[in-house]
Every structure is written in structure tokens, then in C-alpha cells.
């Protein structure tokens, strides 16, 4: 990821967000270039999830959000998805009483190409074979890790150009975390998917990221390549535990 100056696929500039009287984001700037994996790390309550919810237009925010050159900062959430920017939310938020198949179909809500949707259902099941076995089961009966795979698969069903993932490792058995990260690193990256990843597991996140931002109480305090941040003393002390 060197090359000449490129234009970012996602550009967030001066993003501010408040819950009631309390401002929780104080002007966050983030750029994500096409094909990059960028992670956003920080402690609990730093504003990572809020940032993603602002970009997805679920939370109200001020500041500029540009996706692929278009200002999306006043768009309705469904139009953001239609432009190709989709989120895998924190806690998975799969539809518990829809079947695995119906969950995937809902991911493709913005599409009407029946054949293409069917092909993508197969593609997602190829990526996460366990979903095929659970196809007719209700989403709520899946284990945490399986639900996370379903949530990622569901997001991919919209054929996004960029994926925002919020804490995909949270509350999941380590072996499934490894499998999920492996899919992100090897499968999605190989497909050229652009990813903004929010993680508390800073070590794993930085290892797979091209670049990263460190968020502290609503401000970006540090940015650099994954390698640089892994070596950074402050990051090591605060987030890597050594």
C-alpha cells in the first residue's frame, strides 16, 4: 500500500456527536483508502462504536462524512447501505427469530437480482460452512461465534464496497475468533474489500491492519501503520499490556 496520492474511499472529517448534553466525539478525522484494512482501537467508552454508528447514520452527528466522493453526512441509513458502505454491528444484532437463510436474505434487502442473491448465499456459506448446516435454524439458536459469522455473511450479502466491523471478537470462543480473523485477513482482503475494524483486541487488530487510529475519550490521539503502532511505547503500555 504505497503508491502515489490516492483519494480515500471513506473520509471522516471533524465528526462530533453528543448524547444529550455530553459530547462524546470531539472532532474525529479518519481516512480509509480503497483496499485498506484500517483499525480503530481504544479503551471502552472511547467512542469507537459511536463513530461507526455516526458513519452509518444511525446516530446524529455533525462534521463531514464522505464516501466515494459523495457527502453522506445527511443521508438516511438505508441510502448509505445502497451506496455500498455496510456495518457489522457490535453484539452482532442478527435477527433472532428469522432463520439463517432469512437473515442472509435481509442482508440482500437492497438487491433485486434473485439469481445473484442465491449465488451470494452459496458464496457466504462457502466462506462459513457452519452456516449451511444451520440454514433452517433460527438465528437466535446459534452460538456467539456462529452468530458473528452470520452477521458478517449478512453484511456481505449487500455486495458492499466497504465493511465496517465492530468488535467481531467480542464474547466469542478463541478458536472461532481465529477463524473469523483469518477470513477477514485472507478471504476478504484478497477480494479487495476495504475494511474499517473496531477492536478491543488491539494486538490482533494491529497485526492485520495496514493502518490504525487510536481513539481516546472522543479524540484521535495517535495514528500510523499497524507495524508502527505495535512498536509504539504508549500503545504497548495502554493497549497491549506490556
Amino acid at each position: 500500500m504505497t503508491d502515489a496520492p490516492r483519494t480515500p474511499l471513506l473520509r471522516v472529517h471533524g465528526l462530533k456527536c453528543s448524547y444529550g448534553q455530553a459530547e462524546v466525539l470531539h472532532g474525529v478525522d479518519i481516512d480509509v483508502f480503497p483496499g485498506e484494512i484500517v483499525s480503530l482501537i481504544g479503551a471502552n467508552g472511547a467512542g469507537k462504536s459511536t463513530t461507526l454508528m455516526c458513519i452509518s447514520r444511525i446516530n446524529r452527528a455533525s462534521g463531514r462524512i464522505q464516501f466515494d466522493g459523495t457527502d453522506i453526512s445527511s443521508m438516511a441509513p438505508e441510502h448509505v447501505v445502497r451506496r455500498g458502505l455496510v456495518q457489522v454491528p457490535e453484539g452482532r444484532r442478527i435477527f433472532p427469530r428469522l432463520t439463517v437463510r432469512e437473515n442472509l436474505e435481509m442482508g440482500a434487502f437492497i438487491r433485486n437480482d434473485t439469481d445473484g442473491i442465491e449465488a451470494d448465499v452459496e458464496r457466504v456459506c462457502g466462506m462459513f460452512p457452519i452456516l449451511k448446516q444451520r440454514f433452517a435454524q433460527q438465528g437466535g439458536t446459534l452460538s456467539g461465534g456462529e452468530q458473528q459469522m452470520l452477521a458478517i455473511g449478512r453484511a456481505l450479502m449487500s455486495r458492499p464496497r466497504m465493511l465496517m466491523m465492530d468488535e467481531p471478537s467480542m464474547g466469542i470462543a478463541p478458536i472461532l475468533v481465529a477463524q473469523i480473523f483469518d477470513t477477514v485477513k485472507n478471504v476478504l482482503r484478497a477480494q479487495g474489500m476495504t475494511i474499517l475494524l473496531v477492536e478491543q483486541n488491539a494486538n490482533a487488530a494491529l497485526r492485520m491492519s495496514d493502518r490504525a487510529y487510536v481513539l481516546e475519550t472522543g479524540n484521535v490521539v495517535l495514528t500510523g501503520t499497524g507495524e508502527e503502532l505495535l512498536r509504539d511505547e504508549r500503545v504497548r503500555a495502554a493497549y497491549l499490556g506490556h
Binding site: Q87, I94, E102, E105
Partner: protein, 348 residues
């Protein structure tokens, strides 16, 4: 309070008139005990199907925005006034034969469209601005909407039309013309299954099948379930949540519109207070079946219809409301999730 008193009075008069008829019916000596039972069964099932259709409107709206839409019964009442106005203005009751059937279909579809659009508008004006407010504010708004509809009904009944007796007494109950003859469609012994009973079945059953298909298999139906289960996730999937909620109100209202026409034909009278009665029966049915659960609303509707007619026939009609409300209290105490309701909302 005025409204509550009026409602009680209405229920009392209603119960009395029915008590007379049932007493006469049960004691004229001509009917054997199984015939009494059979007739109450027919009446109970027909009324139950109508109640079920209205209960679906409660349960759908509750499922998607967790609101007990207290305006729903009154919406149906306005639908009955709309239907009566159309019948009166076009003279549908004089058409007869094939024209009469076409007229009946037109009144049914027209009233459904009217109630659907009105319900959609009520959501837009009274509920949508409160999406982020507390559920209590929403409930109060629904009660407000109910008051407005009742008063609109009172005003409507005063319009100078022949079907409203020239508008001389806006509050008086209006006769709804018999668009379907009450001749027997089938008869076993002295148990009569009338053409009106048959009409109830012909209208309600296909609608329930169609709704089940819609909710289970269509894209809109799946989106409705998705929004009900997790609106934020639905928005993140590109679903226009407000549009889906609007569609839910339209469909629930339209079903109420169909139901109210059949109800008016079945009971042959229309009053600005009828929404309270229809709404309460249907609300209790929805709670009995498990609010938010569609098959539950149908089951609850049938049960309430049967309980009402059996209580009318075997206890005494004036006790029927006591029985029905007693059941409501028992469910709320011992099985608040209803007969088919989910145990608890899964939190993932």
C-alpha cells in the same frame, strides 16, 4: 370518565337486548340442547373470526413498535361509517343480484383502503414523531387519537343523509342495510348457518391465509419481522424502517376495514361507540393469544368469540363482559405472554 361511563351504558344496553333474545331463543322449547349449543357455536365462530381479524391489527402494530394502538377499534368504527356512507350514497342495498355482490366487494375493498390509509396517516401524524419518546407518551398519543376518532364518528353520524336518519340524532345507532340475506346457507336440525355466517368465513379466512403468506414469504413480510426484532439492525441492512412501519399500519388498518364491514353486516347496526366494544374484544383476544403473535391473535379471537357466545347461551348475556374481562385479568396474572406468546424477548 365520560367516555367510560358511556361505554358501560352501551355495554349494559347491549347486554340487555342480547339477554332478551337469547332467553327467548333458549326457552321457546323448540330447540334441543345440542341445537342450542350448535347455534352458539356458529355465532361464536363467526364473531370470533371477525374479532380475530381486528386483533391482528393490534398484534401487528404491537409487534413492530410495541404500542397498544388504542385507536384501532375506533378506526374500525369510522370504517363502518365510511361503509354506510358509501352504501347510502350509491344505494348499494338496492342493486341486487350480481350487481349487489359487486357492490359488496366494492364496499369491502373501499373500506379496507379507507381504514388502511387512515391508520397509515395516524401513524404518520401521532406516532412517528414520538419514535424516540417513551412508550408511555406513545400510549397517551394513541388514546388521544382514539378520542379524536370517536368524535369524528359522532360528527359523521350527524350528516344529513338518509342512512343516518337525516342526521337528526348524531349519537343514535344507525341501521346497516342487509347487503346479504340472512337466509340459511346450510341447516342441520334447527341449527342455522346463515349466508351472513358464510360471508364472514369467505372474507376472513382468505385474508388470514394471504397475511400469513405475506409475513412468511414476501420480502416486505420478512422486513416487517426484521424490523420488529431489531430495528437498528434492519436499518443497517438498508431497510427503510419507517416505510416498513407505515406498511404495517396500512395492512393492519385494512384488515380492520374488512372486519368492520363484516361486523356491521353481521350485527346490522353502526354506532360511534361501537369501536370500544370491537376494540376491547380484539385487544383481549390479542393478549389472550400472546400479543405480537399472529397465530395467537387468530386463536385468541376465536376463543373470545366462542366464550362470548357460550356465556350468552349458558350463563347469561349480562355476565358475558364480566367473564371476558375476568379472563383478561387471569391471563395478565398467570400467563402474561399469552397462550402462544414467546416466553421472553431473546436478547442476543
Amino acid at each position: 370518565m365520560v367516555r367510560a361511563v358511556a361505554a358501560v351504558e352501551m355495554l349494559a344496553t347491549c347486554a340487555l337486548s342480547r339477554a332478551d333474545s337469547v332467553a327467548a331463543f333458549a326457552h321457546d322449547g323448540a330447540l334441543s340442547s345440542w341445537e342450542v349449543f350448535g347455534q352458539q357455536l356458529v355465532t361464536g365462530l363467526s364473531n370470533g373470526m371477525i374479532i380475530a381479524l381486528i386483533a391482528i391489527g393490534y398484534t401487528m402494530v404491537y409487534g413492530i413498535i410495541e404500542l397498544i394502538n388504542f385507536a384501532h377499534g375506533d378506526l374500525c368504527m369510522l370504517g363502518a361509517f365510511f361503509a354506510l356512507t358509501v352504501v347510502g350514497a350509491l344505494g348499494v342495498d338496492q342493486w341486487g343480484g350480481a350487481g349487489g355482490t359487486a357492490g359488496l366487494v366494492m364496499v369491502l375493498v373501499g373500506t379496507a383502503a379507507f381504514c388502511g390509509s387512515l391508520n397509515w396517516s395516524i401513524n404518520w401524524l401521532a406516532y412517528r414523531p414520538l419514535r424516540k419518546a417513551s412508550k408511555l407518551s406513545l400510549l397517551v398519543s394513541a388514546i388521544g387519537a382514539s378520542f379524536i376518532l370517536v368524535n369524528l364518528g359522532l360528527f359523521w353520524g350527524g350528516l344529513p343523509m338518509d342512512v343516518f336518519a337525516g342526521g337528526t340524532s348524531s349519537a343514535a345507532p344507525k341501521a346497516f342495510p342487509a347487503l346479504v340475506s340472512s337466509d340459511p346457507a346450510a341447516q342441520i336440525g334447527d341449527v342455522i348457518y346463515s349466508r351472513t355466517d358464510f360471508l364472514v368465513l369467505c372474507v376472513t379466512l382468505p385474508l388470514m391465509v394471504a397475511l400469513t403468506y405475506l409475513v412468511r414469504y414476501t420480502k416486505l413480510g420478512k422486513a416487517m419481522r426484521a424490523v420488529a426484532q431489531n430495528p437498528t439492525a434492519a436499518a443497517l441492512m438498508g431497510i427503510d424502517v419507517e416505510r416498513v412501519i407505515g406498511a404495517t399500519f396500512f395492512i393492519g388498518g385494512a384488515l380492520g376495514g374488512f372486519a368492520t364491514v363484516v361486523y356491521s353486516l353481521y350485527n346490522q347496526t353502526v354506532s360511534f361507540q361501537m369501536g370500544y366494544r370491537m376494540g376491547m374484544d380484539a385487544f383481549i383476544a390479542a393478549v389472550l393469544g400472546g400479543i405480537g403473535n399472529l397465530p395467537g391473535a387468530v386463536l385468541g379471537g376465536l376463543l373470545i368469540g366462542l366464550i362470548r357466545s357460550m356465556s350468552d347461551g349458558y350463563i347469561e348475556a349480562r355476565w358475558t363482559n364480566t367473564v371476558v374481562f375476568g379472563i383478561l385479568i387471569l391471563i395478565l396474572v398467570f400467563r402474561p405472554s399469552g397462550l402462544l406468546g414467546a416466553k421472553l424477548r431473546e436478547k442476543v
